[in-house]
């Protein structure tokens, strides 16, 4: 383990990382959010979904630095006396849970289909890639609307809506890499060795097509957080009982023009921050891991 | 013949004079001294062979002359005096007027040298537009003439074809036509026939030699193929790990190599006239150029290496015949 850490610290990736301000900022932001969703709930004052902890008297309190603000609620409270900061911490957990789960689901499905399409080619390839084309022409909002109208709201429907579009990028990337790798002689060597196709795919092709996916996956989490926020803002996202950052914006939106701006602006800023951080990191990884740019 | 060759060596004003050239790349893993203190001259009308194995730095010499070294690489020191002008000191704008017009280069892969979106006629005429004051009416004529010279059948109609409509050998002919059309004084050919078949190779080498002689230009032929270079070159420069290990007249270097690396390279080529069961091989492999051993870079693989070779880097020492080897214990001409 320490040997691995030493190798990483001596690697070119780490060397370049230390000289890249935006990569450092990006990873700090991502680390900050990682901390927030893991230990955040124990740091903030209240659980905004435990009705017993809410004080209706404290409703619509402005942030602490404004007139009437209370040091108990740094970023103010909403109409039910919920601490906005606590809501953001809990909301980030839901937003990032959805973003990460949908990314993992997309990655698994997309990689599998991309491997099959690229390795076997022919009719299977045509079928998979045509489905991918069709998927791309359906916006996720439309898919979500369709699912919601048929089955009602729910986190799993949001996930399905995101994954149904998200797998395509993996399938295309992996198919391209697979086509390139299977041309190489080590795949022929594996055939000459008598390996069955399943083993060739798992042992030889898969490990060699994964690197470009790291970049796709990183940036996709940010994209998914944004799409989920749009869906929730439109009312076809997560249910009221699981308020993500997007839903927090929607909840505060009704009173935004009465001067109670902090209820939706702060969650909005946090969405911006997380997507910004993820994209900074993703850009760095793309520059580092893409051999063609080197 | 030998007298004439010696005359050209002794000529006071060479066309190109490379002096103590150092082209280094500053990478994460350390400084790659791709070219490290290389000096040689090219006389007018001369064919110089630049040989060595991969990592020897021979291509980087060509790129340095052309001013095509990109970061992290850089010409650290040295002069590249071409027709009295130091190319290493020229800025990009002035270098662009030298490239193509006075010095041209041919690369290994003829496909990357041609723009797939333009007809070869466009590309030939573009060179004339950039580097000559030929009126546009004459340019097409000259392009046709040039294609005929490099042996492309039906040049009038082929002029309007795109690069992909030519076979590999024909493409390399087109590349030669483009590089020679502005009548440069020096042509640098970097492994020009390596990607091509033997029968095509011979045709192209002959064509290049003919073009260069006809235009009274000089040629630097960069290649790993000792046999091809021995057929083409007047003089040969052998590079190993970015340094010159041997230079001299082609016949001398091929028949009486003084450096053990040159000798090893020559011995590695299977010779059919000697019925041998095993090839003479150079042991080991080319060292990592970022971590060259002190002293002679070839010492770890050299059959004649002594203590001094591992401590002191040998200087190029010239003999009376103009053959020079960088070796503490050069092979004496006994054979």
């Amino acid at each position: 383990m320490t040997a691995l850490a030493q190798r990483f610290l001596a690697s070119e990736l780490f060397h370049n990382y230390r000289r890249n301000a935006s990569a450092i900022i990006g990873s700090l932001i991502v680390l900050f959010f990682a901390g927030m969703i893991t230990i955040g709930p124990w740091v903030v004052a209240q659980d905004p979904y435990d009705v017993a902890q809410l004080e209706l008297l404290d409703s619509f309190k402005p942030p602490v630095w404004l007139e009437g603000g209370s040091p108990q609620y740094w970023l103010g409270t909403d109409g039910q006396g919920r601490d906005v900061l606590a809501s953001i911490v809990y909301g980030s957990r839901i937003s990032l849970f959805i973003g990460l789960t949908a990314m993992i689901g997309s990655c698994l499905i997309g990689t599998t289909l991309g491997l099959l399409a690229g390795f076997y080619g022919g009719r299977l390839d045509s079928v998979i890639m045509r489905i991918a084309d069709i998927q791309l022409s359906f916006p996720s909002v439309l898919t979500a609307l369709f699912l919601m109208s048929a089955f009602g709201t729910g986190v799993e429907k949001v996930l399905i809506a995101l994954i149904s579009v998200g797998w395509v990028v993996y399938a295309r990337t992996v198919r391209g890499s697979t086509l390139r790798e299977t041309q190489k002689e080590y795949i022929q060597a594996a055939r000459v060795s008598g390996l069955p196709n399943a083993k060739i795919i798992l042992r030889h092709v898969l490990p060699n097509v994964l690197t470009p996916l790291i970049v796709v996956a990183t940036i996709q989490v940010g994209t998914f957080v944004l799409i989920e926020a749009s869906l929730s803002f439109l009312g076809v996202g997560v249910p009221i009982t699981k308020p993500s950052l997007g839903l927090l914006i929607k909840n505060g939106f009704d009173v935004l023009f009465s001067g109670l701006w902090w209820i939706s602006v702060f969650p909005g800023l946090f969405i911006m921050l997380i997507v910004f951080g993820i994209n900074l990191l993703g850009d760095f990884l793309r520059d580092e891991l893409n051999p063609r740019l080197k | 013949m030998s007298e004439a060759a010696r005359m050209s060596v002794a000529q006071p004003a060479p066309l190109l004079s490379v002096r103590n050239l150092r082209t280094w790349f500053h990478t994460f893993g350390g400084v790659v001294k791709a070219v490290d203190g290389v000096s040689f001259d090219v006389a007018p009308g001369e064919i110089l062979g630049l040989v060595g194995e991969s990592g020897g730095g021979k291509s980087m010499v060509g790129f340095s002359i052309m001013g095509l070294i990109d970061p992290p690489g850089r010409i650290e020191a040295g002069e590249i005096v071409f027709e009295g002008e130091d190319l290493a000191r020229l800025d990009e704008a002035r270098m662009r007027r030298v490239r193509g017009k006075r010095v041209a280069m041919i690369f290994q892969d003829p496909m990357t040298a041609l723009n797939p979106l333009y007809t070869i006629g466009n590309q030939l005429e573009e060179m004339l537009k950039l580097h000559t004051d030929l009126p546009s009416a004459r340019r097409r004529e000259r392009a046709i003439e040039m294609l005929r010279e490099v042996g492309i059948p039906q040049p009038e109609s082929r002029l309007d074809n795109y690069p992909h409509q030519f076979s590999g050998g024909m493409r390399q002919r087109v590349v030669i036509a483009i590089s020679m059309i502005a009548r440069p004084r020096l042509l640098i050919a970097d492994e020009p026939t390596t990607a091509l078949d033997v029968t095509i190779q011979a045709q192209l080498l002959r064509l290049m030699k003919h073009q260069v002689t006809q235009n009274a230009a000089s040629l630097i032929l960069i290649t790993h193929d000792l046999a091809a270079v021995s057929q083409m070159a007047d003089r040969i420069v052998v590079l190993y790990c970015g340094r010159i290990v041997e230079k001299g007249r082609a016949a001398d270097v091929i028949e009486r190599p003084r450096h053990h690396y040159t000798r090893g390279l020559l011995d590695s080529i299977p010779h059919h006239d000697k019925a041998q069961a095993r090839l003479r091989q150079i042991p080991g492999s080319v060292p990592d150029i970022r971590k060259l051993p002190p002293g002679c870079a070839f010492a770890p693989r050299c059959p004649a290496a002594q203590d001094i070779c591992r401590r002191v880097e040998p200087e190029l020492v010239e003999t009376a015949t103009g053959q020079a080897a960088a070796c503490h214990f050069p092979i004496e001409a006994t054979r």
Partner: protein, 337 residues
């Protein structure tokens, strides 16, 4: 004794026309969908005896690589027959090929692309052996080290990844992989052409030492005449998917009969000799394998072609002492050249 490998009239064609939509053409007002067929190997026959090295030479596109890959069944043959050790393997499917894999292995051209960059060297060299082992192999580690030692690599190399090796060392790893199952025949597809000259000599020496030690045969594919002359017992010269001449090494080099062989030998650069004059060279380039010439495949470039060459395809016929040539000039068995 029966030959180790016997290839009879082997044919390999590839349909490169793509899907029906790629093929659609409108010609003379009619819609057609012509197929584009690459005739890569066109009826090639040869044999390799035990312990023998057969060198196949030819220029790019002559089908020598395709031939090699068809023999080892990386491609399914379009026609003809391949027999290894008397067993006809032409129609063998994946499962029936399994025992054959132990008898026939391959060494590849590109030392960079022929090793999986994510596998450790010990796993690379043992893969064919482990895949074909009948049961569990308790001594995997020792076997891997023994194999590496055979190709001149040490214990310290076993746990490294391919990118930590030079081209020559990688080729040694590829050779160890082929050796792991103890094959009778090794097909070597341009094994040294991607290597530096000094490393080429090392690898050729190693390959010959191993052959002497284990007694297997090579089918050695190369475009390099000096290499093929050094390593082969017999030589086959290929052109446009046809075998135009075969024979013992010395017969081919000292008494080449086919005009193509003669041109190839004349064009090859020889150290310290002047460039051959243009008169010796053959003109033009290899025709497309999509559209083979009628008659003799070489007639479009042949300086000696006559009427018969355009209408009748010459067959490979023996002339003398195991020397065969496919040329109408040598039809009557006249070997007095």
């Amino acid at each position: 004794m029966a030959p180790l490998l016997a290839v009879r009239d082997l044919r390999q064609r590839f349909d490169v026309s793509g899907s029906i939509f790629d093929r659609l053409r409108i010609r003379n007002g009619r819609i057609t969908a012509p197929r584009r067929i690459v005739h890569a190997v066109n009826g090639v026959s040869f044999e390799i005896a035990r312990g023998e090295v057969l060198g196949l030479v030819g220029e790019s596109g002559c089908g020598k690589s395709t031939l090699a890959k068809t023999v080892i069944k990386l491609h399914e043959p379009t026609g003809g027959a391949i027999a290894l050790d008397g067993e006809d393997i032409t129609q063998h499917d994946f499962h029936r090929m399994r025992p054959i894999r132990k008898k026939m292995q391959m060494i590849f051209q590109d030392p960079y692309a022929s090793l999986n960059p994510r596998q450790r060297v010990r796993d690379i060299v043992m893969e064919p052996y482990l895949e074909n082992a009948a049961g569990p192999v308790p001594d995997v580690a020792e076997r891997a080290l023994a194999l590496l030692a055979k190709v001149g690599l040490g214990r310290e190399h076993a746990d490294r990844y391919p990118h930590q090796f030079s081209g020559g060392q990688r080729q040694r790893i590829g050779i160890a992989r082929a050796l792991s199952v103890g094959p009778d025949l090794i097909i070597a597809d341009e094994p040294v052409s991607a290597l530096d000259v000094s490393i080429q000599a090392q690898i050729l020496n190693l390959m010959m030492d191993l052959k002497d030690e284990f007694g297997f045969s090579y089918l050695f594919i190369t475009h390099d005449l000096s290499v093929v002359r050094h390593i082969s017992d017999r030589i086959g010269v290929m052109y446009l998917g046809f075998m135009v001449e075969t024979g013992p090494k010395d017969a081919i080099f000292e008494n080449p009969l086919h005009p193509y062989t003669q041109a190839l030998l004349a064009a090859a650069p020889v150290l310290g000799t002047p460039l051959p004059p243009a008169a010796d060279a053959i003109k033009g380039e290899v025709p497309s394998a999509l559209n083979l010439p009628t008659g003799c495949p070489f007639r479009t470039r042949c300086p000696l072609a006559f009427d018969r060459c355009a209408v009748e395809r010459p067959e490979l016929k023996p002339v003398a002492g195991g020397h065969s040539v496919a040329c109408h000039l040598h039809d009557g068995g006249i070997a007095a050249a």
